[in-house]
Amino acid sequence: MTVMSYIQAITAALREEMIRDEKVFILGEDVGVKGGVFRATDGLYEEFGEERVLDTPLAESAIAGVGIGAAMYGLRPVAEMQFADFILPAVNQIISEAAKIRYRSNNDWNVPITIRAPYGGGVHGALYHSQSLESIFANQPGLKIVMPSTPYDAKGLLKAAIRDNDPVLFFEHKRAYRLLKADIPEEDYVIPIGKADIKREGSDITIITYGLCIHFALQAAEKLAEEGIDAHILDLRTVYPLDQEAIITAAKKTGKVLLITEDNKEGSIIGEVAAIIAENCLFDLDAPIMRLAGPDVPAMPYSPPMEKYFMVNPDKVEKAMRELAEF
């Protein structure tokens, strides 16, 4: 076991996959010589050379397009979007090409690409460095969207994404990079995409969320445990397609469900989670399904008090959890 930060787990997964399979290569802005602005690809250029760690122009559409083409011809590219906010110029490539090629070609072609992108706010990143964009891609069959919450999950899921034969969007919360540290086993392990994970067993209320919000929920849960409120926490891990069975089981367990996302509330991932619960769990529900999310305003503000107002944090989660428990 080694203690690794979230970003070290990412780097380790990339490195191990590049050693394991020479078809794996990395492309993105500043991923090579610099080692990435967050240092996710630190040391990989030196180890694997410029042919497998490619610095690209500032053109996200090209990063995605080149990656998709290479993937169709049998390579396993890992494309990095420097910030998830910058993925938007590549949306056409991702949605219209990567997601649909297997279907359009009647299974003749497939696109085993992984697109990594740091998302999320609370880091004084303001408009262009704080967004959560998963919901843009979350109704595109053919795509998978993975958003791990822990270093352990990040490593296992990134390996699964690279080995997956279809396109995977891999969103990493940039605040988690150095905030979260955990023991990571030495041996190779893979966590299956599409499976949610129970991060805390409890019997009073069910929290379903993903990414950094898992930690807010865990922190709040520990505090509330002292008051006798016992929270059950489900980590979606893959936000598209959703693990319906795990969601239904977790919701039925307590009948009181709180859904959390850092994204703007309306049209977010958790709205879909709420729909799954409403369709399947009516007679087990003991309270209205509750959502805690960012406000429906266009962007994460830069001003610290405003950013604090926008962001989900442990206090807000605790308050919502208590309110639901007391209902």
Binding site: V123, G255, L282, F283, D284, L285, D286, E326
Partner: protein, 415 residues
């Protein structure tokens, strides 16, 4: 003047901690707002930490080389302006608002009959009347957990009603049977003392497994003695010297020697009471009271007789106070005053036993193979068989009998 904290600032996206490489100030230094106070190293940048206040550095908390989380305390600075107080005052006000809102929420019962789908389903599946379930949710709402608790607690009842058809009828009989009222019948509402008596008796008979025992006592000597002194006693003291006072005295002494009978059932334990406080049954036309002779074992026969008279008067004039009625540990019931020669008392809950002192009757008794006319009395004991067994009660009764049979002019002094 105010003591302010300077904390590790956020030094870049994704940076969550920083290492203090050099302090640029020392304790006692005067700094202006925005002056650099320390150099900090993160895995992204090297940066200077600016002071958030103007003032004098008071205490450096972080040592050089320490890694501090963002928001973690680095040092204290003494400023000229009192900012903190205003903030806390404002916070206090907010807190007050929150508290008052909370209180109103708790008293509110508006959600009592708003049922969630889960609660309704569980209630139907388990035949639970929701009006009988109390809710712990907001506004008195019955939560899924509340109803699950009821289901778990009541499993046995539910099973019974499913398997045995007679069960519902039986439980109906438990509810009071209401007879017809015919013309000319008088209806007396049950309230006050009558109601309390009813409840106590039901409780005692339902909860306590009663057992009974009676001994016969020869009180000829006692009768002789008491009859001899009763007139002078009345003249001297102004109240009657009753037989009952002697019995109470004997019982108090017996309890002192057999404290097992002076105890109470408390579920997982038996509480043996230190004080011997004897409840005595006193009735007026409608009601029955059981006032208490406190510490009867410490009183003379005269003192007991006086207590009895006073308590009986209070009962008749309905001036008994709750103090007069409480803390009884054993009851002595003077059933003999109605001419009863045998009875089975209901234990005065939560005591362990009750003793009925029956009528003193002159009867032919065989002593040394000869008939003799003796004053005989029956003492009937009802006991809580959870606490007491026949053996100890038999010994107790034998002891009381012995005491009473030895009460005479030479052995006993009423004062």
């Amino acid at each position: 003047m105010a003591r302010e904290k300077i904390t590790m600032p956020q030094l870049g996206e994704s940076v969550t901690e920083g290492t203090v490489s050099t302090w640029l100030v020392a304790v006692g230094d005067k700094v202006n707002k925005y002056d650099p106070i320390a150099e900090v190293l993160t895995d992204k940048v090297n940066a200077e930490v600016p002071s958030s206040f103007s003032g004098i550095i008071q205490e450096l908390i972080a040592a050089e080389g320490d890694t501090i989380a963002v928001g973690g305390l680095m040092c204290y600075i003494e400023t000229e302006k009192d900012v903190q107080d205003e903030e806390t005052a404002a916070n206090d006000e907010n807190d007050k608002d929150l508290v008052s809102v909370d209180n109103t929420a708790k008293e509110n019962q508006s959600m009592k009959q708003r049922y969630s789908p889960a609660v309704l389903r569980l209630a139907q599946e388990n035949n639970i009347d929701l009006l009988t379930v109390s809710g712990t949710g907001r506004g008195g709402r019955i939560t899924r957990k509340d109803i699950e608790k009821v289901i778990n607690a009541g499993t046995i009842d539910t099973l019974k009603s499913e398997t045995i058809d007679v069960a519902p009828t039986m439980s109906k009989q438990r509810e009071t049977f209401i007879p017809d009222v015919n013309h000319g019948d008088i209806e007396i509402p049950v309230q006050g003392v009558r109601k309390a008596i009813a409840q106590n008796m039901v409780r005692s008979k339902q909860e306590i497994p009663h057992a009974w025992m009676t001994v016969e006592v020869d009180v000829t000597d006692l009768v002789t003695y008491r009859n001899k002194i009763k007139h002078s006693f009345k003249q001297q003291e102004g109240f009657n010297l009753t037989f009952f006072a002697f019995f109470v005295k004997a019982v108090a002494q017996g309890l002192k020697e057999y404290p097992q009978l002076n105890s109470q059932w408390a579920g997982d334990k038996i509480i043996q009471k230190k004080d011997i406080n004897l409840s005595i049954a006193v009735a007026n036309d409608q009601e029955l009271f059981v006032p208490v002779i406190k510490n009867a074992d410490e009183k003379s026969i005269k003192g007991i007789a006086k207590d009895i008279v006073e308590l009986a008067n209070k009962a008749r004039t309905r001036t008994l106070k709750s103090d007069d009625m409480k803390d009884g540990t054993f009851t002595v019931n003077n059933t003999g005053s109605f001419g009863s020669i045998h009875s089975m008392g209901v234990i005065n809950y939560p005591q362990a036993a009750i003793l009925q002192v029956e009528s003193i009757v002159k009867r032919p008794v065989i002593i040394n193979d000869m008939f003799a006319a003796r004053d005989m009395v029956n003492l009937s004991l009802s006991l809580d068989h959870r606490i007491l067994d026949g053996l100890v009660c038999g010994r107790f009764l034998a002891r009381v009998k012995e005491i009473l049979e030895n009460m005479n002019e030479t052995t006993t002094n009423v004062y």
